[in-house]
């Protein structure tokens, strides 16, 4: 009896919870309201089965529970007996039929919307999202509307996207080396997704769409942004220890704001030439800064002094730190070099031993140190 009442209360409670809880989907900012509709349809149909079956179980438990003082349910010998019910083929076929209808009512709209999801409209623009542990960057095809060829082989500190320097299509590609990207309102957009290292997943909750990014291949999805604003990007496929820390931002701009933003972004050839030149001309700090960005250091080491996966860089040199073995050490050039080349040798207390060894040259280490020291000032 208690069980039946609890089941009824659970159903009532679940229904109330469903309608009054504060945790609903984020306001939609893309054309995929149709996906929200399929969720709604699924919730209605499954909800009916959930409530119906559970209430039937509760009713059964109340009506057919064993009762000691019910002589009408006893047989001639005074023993309680259940109904000796044979199979009910007709009922079974009815139930199978109703279930099949319910399943079709779920599947049909689902597949129709999915058909839209996999077919990119012809007028869609193109943007490439590039992921690596644990940061985002973006590439636009430029005036020729063709993205230049890429290969892991071409990746170096001057060319973090790995664009083929000899491919003419790549010269006008626009590179956005930042976690922040702008896209244009009402313009259908195909997101080409590429990963340089492990699996990632480009996910903006307000857009509903998401897709894994797989090293060695391209994946895609498309959408049309329908609300201007600023939305968060998340990584939705586990990609190692800083997975949770791989945020970014997408700004949906009206056409005027978008064009203004776009005109300030450098093309690959501009950036590449500049980068090659700065290696010689620019200060050593600038070289260190580029190295830190391209090697992924700043995913775990903040430059504002805040604590992240690894120790922050601001005012780091000269600090006295306690190590996990209980001893203390002053952060100097020698300790820094060792921590890059062999990170697990001496770990500062409070940080996980996750950093991989980096094989930097002596010059690169000098540049990095110069950059880090310049942050502190």
């Amino acid at each position: 009896m208690a069980l039946a009442i609890i089941l009824i209360l659970l159903i009532i409670g679940s229904l109330i919870f469903n309608f009054v809880n504060p945790w609903q989907a984020t306001p939609i900012a893309s054309n995929w309201g149709s996906i929200d509709d399929t969720i709604f349809i699924t919730a209605i149909i499954t909800g009916i089965f959930f409530v119906g079956i559970t209430l039937f179980v509760a009713y059964t438990l109340i009506k057919y529970r064993h009762k000691e003082d019910k002589p009408e349910e006893e047989n001639e010998a005074g023993v309680h007996q259940a109904a000796y019910e044979p199979d009910n083929k007709k009922l079974e076929w009815w139930l199978t039929g109703i279930t099949t209808v319910g399943i079709c009512a779920l599947l049909a709209p689902g597949l129709i919307v999915y058909n839209d999801f996999v077919h990119v409209p012809k007028q869609a623009g193109l943007i490439e999202v590039v992921a690596k542990q644990w940061m985002w960057s973006f590439r636009l095809p430029g005036e020729d509307n063709i993205l230049g060829k890429t290969s892991v082989k071409h990746i170096n500190s001057d060319n973090s996207f790995g664009i083929d320097p000899d491919d003419p299509n790549g010269q006008d590609d626009i590179l956005i080396m930042s976690n922040e990207i702008h896209i244009q309102l009402d313009q259908p957009l195909k997101f080409l997704l590429r990963s340089l290292d492990v699996l990632h997943n480009f996910y903006v909750p307000h857009f509903r769409a998401k897709m894994d990014m797989v090293p060695g291949q391209l994946s895609y999805f498309w959408l049309t942004p329908i609300e201007t604003g600023e939305y968060e990007i998340l990584c939705a496929e586990y990609c190692g220890v800083a997975h949770y820390n791989m945020g970014g931002r997408v700004f949906v701009d009206n056409s005027q704001d978008y064009q203004q933003w776009l005109s300030n972004q450098p093309t690959f050839s501009q950036q590449y030439q500049k980068s090659l030149a700065t290696d010689l001309a620019d200060g050593i700090e600038e070289q260190g800064r580029q190295l830190a960005e391209n090697s992924g250091c700043i995913a775990c080491h903040s430059i504002d002094g805040s604590k992240s996966l690894g120790p922050g860089w601001k005012n780091m040199f000269g600090k006295t730190e306690k190590l996990t073995d209980g001893s203390t050490i002053t952060v100097d050039n020698a300790y820094f070099d060792e921590s890059v080349l062999n990170p697990s040798a001496k770990i500062v207390e409070g940080y996980p031993p996750v950093m991989a060894p980096y094989q930097f040259s002596g010059e690169q280490l000098e540049a990095l140190k110069a950059y880090i020291k310049s942050i502190g000032q």
Binding site: T60, N88, Q133, I155, Y203, R208, A209, E232, G296
Partner: protein, 585 residues
């Protein structure tokens, strides 16, 4: 001539002393208990790990040692232990081992020595797995799905040695499961007693039988993927490793496919869901029938549903990969097959409910757990319809909706059956009843607590909250109320976790102090309750094997005094019982 007759005269390997009786035992009942206790110990470790994880999610920073590294290691080990080393081992190695020979009327498994080896390989796999807590770098934190390249590259905890031990342990486990599985299948097909036709077997045996076949066909996919990943990690091959960089350095790998691993993993992984679910389906059917004193509704349909689910489970795997970057057109096919599998599954739910209908329902602890299973499985199964329908899955995948769904459907639901089944068969295993009051308390906390944990969790997923996040406090779209809900869920999880002490206490206490049960305390009709001794002696049956005349669900037969007719009663005996009853009245 059936195997049963052939073996009548062959002497069993009689145990000679303490060691051959309790340690190097070849008796299926002892092996079952060895399997079960090892699985429960592994499960308790995984339970503690989940508590530590939940502390970080609900109260970030509350545990000093819980850095991102430790969090991901706890998460990975929790998942893998629960799915493989607890649920698979307990249902097949534990319940399968104990119940199959008793339910089909065999004296033991057909290969007792292999059965013994199966347990020792299983124990070895658990030891290897736990050893990874003590190697440099600790256990792997790759997530229980172990997706490469991340599982074996820098930036993932335990990418040096933890992952190697994990893969080796899985390979050893699969050897154990194969030795056990061949035994279960052969015993069911060859060693049934006189009159025990396939359609006279209890649904427990059918569920375990089909699950074992799935295991034998699905585990090889995991085995090869484990070996291939070991090669990638140790020998520098590139099965799953494309040309890529890692931490700014170019790796030597070239040409491999990370998606290939996912296909292999889920070709195993989806049948694995049913390797856990089908035994639970079988056991719960028997519990419902016995305690509502009514024949199982639609027995044949139930058997065919088990077979249909088993077959279909091999063509739905890529519904775990809708947003994996595989060819998106696969989505149409896998969404259709996945939703089709809901039909035989729904039939099973209806038949459980209709078994209760017009029954004489005894609200015993096993029945409480069985009804709680129906409710939880219903909830978890229906949310599966969201995730199976490809486009609905797109926004929900990799969120807490998925976490809530699979914990309901293949975590809590099978565990509720495990509890119900232990309350139901403990008297046969030990000769004593478990304590009823503690059992009810344990039931209510576990049932209501798990619903409080997982029902609201779905809404975090609808909100878009991603899973596998060590810390999500920096994201602005997640409101404070969601973090408060996580704190609530953590409190509920801790309560449910601690409440399991009640269960352990009950197991331990009742073994010495429980009420004596006799041979058949529930007045059940199936063969395992017909042993002459409880617990059954070595060889299970006395001089002669039992002879079976009917199916195991003859409850409340009209005209008979008792409300059950056991499987060994012949048609003539039944007529005599009915006649004598007529005479009395």
């Amino acid at each position: 001539m059936s195997y049963a007759e052939e073996t009548e005269d062959i002497a069993l390997h009689e145990p000679k002393g303490f060691y051959s009786k309790y340690v190097w035992s070849q008796d299926h009942k002892v092996i079952a208990i060895q399997y079960s206790l090892t699985a429960i110990v592994a499960g308790l470790v995984a339970l503690v790990l989940s508590g530590l994880m939940r502390m970080q999610i609900g109260f970030p920073g509350s545990l000093e040692f819980m850095d991102a590294n430790t969090y991901y290691q706890a998460m990975t080990m929790h998942g893998m232990i629960m799915v493989i080393y607890l649920l698979t081992a307990l249902f097949l190695g534990g319940f399968g081992n104990y119940l199959i020979p008793l339910m089909v009327g065999a004296r033991d498994m057909v290969f007792p020595f292999v059965n013994m080896l199966s347990f020792w390989f299983y124990l070895l796999s658990v030891i290897i797995l736990f050893a990874s807590f003590f190697v440099p770098g600790g256990p792997t934190g790759a997530g229980w799905t172990l997706y490469p390249p991340q599982a074996i590259t820098a930036g993932t905890p335990g990418a040096e040695w933890g992952i190697v031990l994990m893969l080796v342990s899985l390979a050893v486990f699969i050897v154990a499961a194969t030795m056990g599985g061949l035994n279960y299948v052969t015993t069911i097909l060859q060693a049934r007693t006189y009159g025990m036709s396939l359609f006279r077997m209890p649904l427990s045996v059918w569920g375990i039988f089909m699950a074992t076949i799935l295991a034998l066909l699905a585990f090889p996919a995991l085995f090869v993927s484990a070996v291939m990943m070991l090669f990638d990690r140790l020998l520098g091959t590139s099965f799953f490793m494309p040309e890529m960089i890692s931490m700014g350095q170019q790796l030597d790998h070239k040409g491999g496919s990370p998606i290939l691993f996912q296909h292999l993993f889920w070709f195993f992984g989806h049948p694995e869901v049913y390797i856990v679910a089908l035994p639970a389906f079988g056991l719960v059917s028997d519990i419902l029938s016995v305690h509502s004193r009514k024949k199982i509704f639609g027995y044949k349909m139930m058997v065919w549903a088990i077979i249909a689910i088993g077959v279909l489970s091999f063509i739905v795997w890529a519904h775990h990969m809708y947003v994996s970057g595989m060819n998106p057109y696969f989505g149409f096919f896998f969404a259709t097959t996945t939703l089709i599998i809901a039909v035989p599954t729904a039939i099973k739910v209806y038949n459980w409910v209709l078994t209760l209908w017009k029954g004489d329902i005894h609200l015993t602890v096993p029945l409480l757990f069985a009804v709680a299973f129906i409710f939880t499985f219903l909830a978890g199964g229906l949310t599966g319809l969201f995730l199976g329908n490809v486009v609905v899955d797109v926004p929900l995948s990799d969120t807490y909706f998925v976490v809530a769904h699979f914990h309901m459907v293949m975590g809590v639901a099978p565990i509720l059956v495990v509890f119900g089944a232990i309350y139901h068969w403990y008297p046969k295993i030990t000769g004593r009843m478990l304590n009823d009051t503690i059992g009810k308390l344990h039931f209510w906390i576990t049932f209501l607590g798990t619903y409080a944990i997982y029902f609201p969790m779905h809404y975090l997923g609808i909100l878009g909250m991603p899973r596998r996040y060590y810390d999500s406090s920096e994201y602005e779209f997640i409101p404070q109320s969601a973090h408060d809900l996580n704190a609530f869920i953590t409190i509920a999880a801790i309560i449910v976790g601690v409440a399991q002490i009640l269960f352990l206490y009950n197991l331990f206490h009742s073994y010495f102090k429980g009420k004596k049960s006799g041979n058949n305390p529930w007045k059940a009709a199936s063969l395992e309750w017909m042993t002459t001794e409880t617990p059954p002696i070595h060889g299970n049956w006395g001089e002669k094997l039992p002879v079976v005349h009917r199916w195991p669900y003859d409850y409340s037969v009209p005209g008979v005094k008792e409300d059950f007719v056991d499987q060994t009663v012949s048609e003539t005996q039944l007529q005599a019982m009915i006649e004598s009853q007529k005479v009395k009245s």
